[in-house]
């Protein structure tokens, strides 16, 4: 692979990878590190991948594994059993909430979703990979991906609603406050 091909590879995937990394890492600096680290791993090991159609999945999988590796060094993870259950009969989504909030707040809400659900949920919204590849990447059956997606969406709706409530609270500037 020539340098131009590497540049094309970066150009084709680094934006999506960064968005995925941002949802996982929750801050810009760590998301950049994860994205860079993914391409470094590609530079050292990627040539062993023979199926060119799997490059995207390989990159996302690598990024996710790098994230998990970093997480293992840090705080403990939450057991799935400790997390709240999904909705039995999910309500109709409040589209307006998502429409009214800006991208940063929506991503912020996504970042509040429990880690176990955040990866499948973000991959769902990135719409980059088939379900089978998402399942392979997360090393769970497709049914589990859907289950985590359902629970993740429930958490996302709650987080969005909180953000919308916060946004609707109008702060009066100090100069306009009156004391009686």
């Amino acid at each position: 692979m020539e340098a131009d091909s590497f540049t094309q590879l970066v150009d084709a995937h680094y934006t999506s990878l960064y968005r995925f990394a941002l949802s996982l890492a929750r801050n810009t600096a760590d998301a950049c590190d994860l994205t860079q680290q993914t391409f470094y791993v590609w530079a050292t090991k990627g040539h062993s991948l023979r199926d060119g159609s799997k490059v995207k999945t390989w990159l996302f999988t690598t990024l996710y594994r790098e994230f998990l590796r970093g997480r293992r060094r840090g705080a403990r993870t939450t057991a799935l059993a400790d997390l709240p259950p999904g909705e039995e009969d999910p309500p109709a989504a409040e589209v307006n909430i998502a429409v009214q909030l800006d991208a940063q707040l929506v991503v912020g809400a996504l970042q509040e979703v429990d880690e176990a659900f955040r990866a499948p949920l973000t991959l769902f919204y990135l719409e980059d990979m088939p379900y089978q590849e998402i399942a392979d990447m997360l090393e769970v059956p497709i049914g589990t991906v859907m289950s985590r997606l359902s629970r993740g969406k429930a958490q996302l709706r709650t987080a969005l609603a909180k953000k919308e409530n916060g946004q609707n609270i109008i702060q009066f500037p100090n100069s306009q406050r009156k004391t009686s």
């Binding site: 680094y14 968005r19 810009t28 991208a103 379900y131």
Partner: protein, 243 residues
Amino acid sequence: MNTTEAKFILQACRPGGQDATDPRFADALAQARQDPALADWFFREQAFDAEVAAKLRAVQPPAELRAAILAGARMSRSSPWWRQTRVMALAASVVLVLGLVAAWPQKAPAIDGSQLALGAMDEMNSPAHHPIVMGGRGDLHALLANASTRLAAGLPLDFAELKADGCRSLSIGGHEVLEVCFERGGNDFHLYVARANDFPAKDSTTEPMFMERGRLASVSWRDRSHAYALVSDSGAENLREIF
């Protein structure tokens, strides 16, 4: 399939339409076509998902991320860099750097300074690199060669003046870098100076970062106007002493 089961499947149907022909969704989609209430729920769910997906797509990476990813590739121009043993040496040097930085009292790594230092060491390793050449401001050379000068205390230089004085100019990561060579204690040192804006710090740290790669050792640091990398083949201890 009851409505709850259909919703469970339909909520996983992505708004872009790529799942519409997936047989896993076929039954639930057929049920939605026959059940107005379910169809309405699905319509709103898809609209919600489309909106969230659009918001996520609106997030753009920091402007410098692409350049940072490609910087490693640019630094090795002669052949595909990811197939060179140099990459392994780089990885080893990163590990060593972490150790050195951890051992450096009360110091934290200045991550972005590594790009200038790595580029400088790469340049020194290249066949095009020259032996030590004295050029540029004589008073700066005198200061640098003075055994009592510690570079960490600050350097009285200006990038534009240095360039005008005829210092050697080269490109690292697409940015102009000036090189000032000097001797101290019988050892050769190469000071690389760049504009601070060309090698922006990821955070506000100005702490030095020590690295070793093969026979070369470097320390990189920055001040308000400049980013610096000092490189030598005289060993890390000499570098620490002079810094």
